[in-house]
Amino acid sequence: MERLETLLRRAFPDASDLRVVDRTGTGDHFHVLVQAAAMNGLSLVEQHKLVYAALSEPLRDGTIHELRISTKGTA
């Protein structure tokens, strides 16, 4: 969970809201919420792709079994 938060903070240093929720308490089903200016003007698909890119490593190595994403711009 801390690892995900670190990766997201690195990708979205300007985030006004950034949360990682362990949905099941088992460390593999997460809900991440990111509100950042970097999302402004992007479609939801593009916004979610930024989150996937930030978390590509834990997605690839199986740390993340299931990921829910909520994103928002600041505008």
Binding site: L44, V45, H48, K49, Y52, S56, L59, E66, L67, R68, I69, S70
Partner: protein, 119 residues
């Protein structure tokens, strides 16, 4: 391999609403695939389903095409709409219905069919 890629591309481009999911609507194998189906059904979308589970290559090729790493994936007339989260979000705000009528015409509900196609 490239043949499979072509068949996936064909589904994405030619089906009004394509849903790549784990399992089929009768036997859904993943909660997120269920969420995507529910969102699409709620909006009255004519869904064409592809089950990605029979062949791991489907998922690989699909993600290479779409740039989207997870399943499910929803496309409307060739455009990637997103996964379960976005489908739900758009359904809740009414934007999904708006998008469907914009892309498929206002009578899209009248064509509501659900089919499962093999690749």
């Amino acid at each position: 391999m490239s043949e499979l890629k072509d068949r996936i591309q064909d589904v994405i481009e030619n089906e009004p609403v394509a849903l790549f999911m784990k399992g089929t609507p009768d036997l859904v194998m993943c909660g997120n695939s269920q969420r995507a189906i529910d969102a699409l059904r709620g909006a009255g979308a004519p869904i064409t389903v592809v089950n990605i589970l029979p062949d791991p290559a489907i998922r690989q090729e699909l993600s290479a095409i779409s740039g989207w790493p997870t399943i499910p994936q929803v496309f409307i007339k060739g455009e990637l709409i997103g996964g379960a989260d976005i489908a739900e979000e758009l359904a809740a705000s009414g934007e999904l219905e708006h998008k469907l009528s914009e892309k498929l015409g206002e009578n899209y509900r009248g064509r509501a069919v659900q089919k499962v196609i093999p690749l």
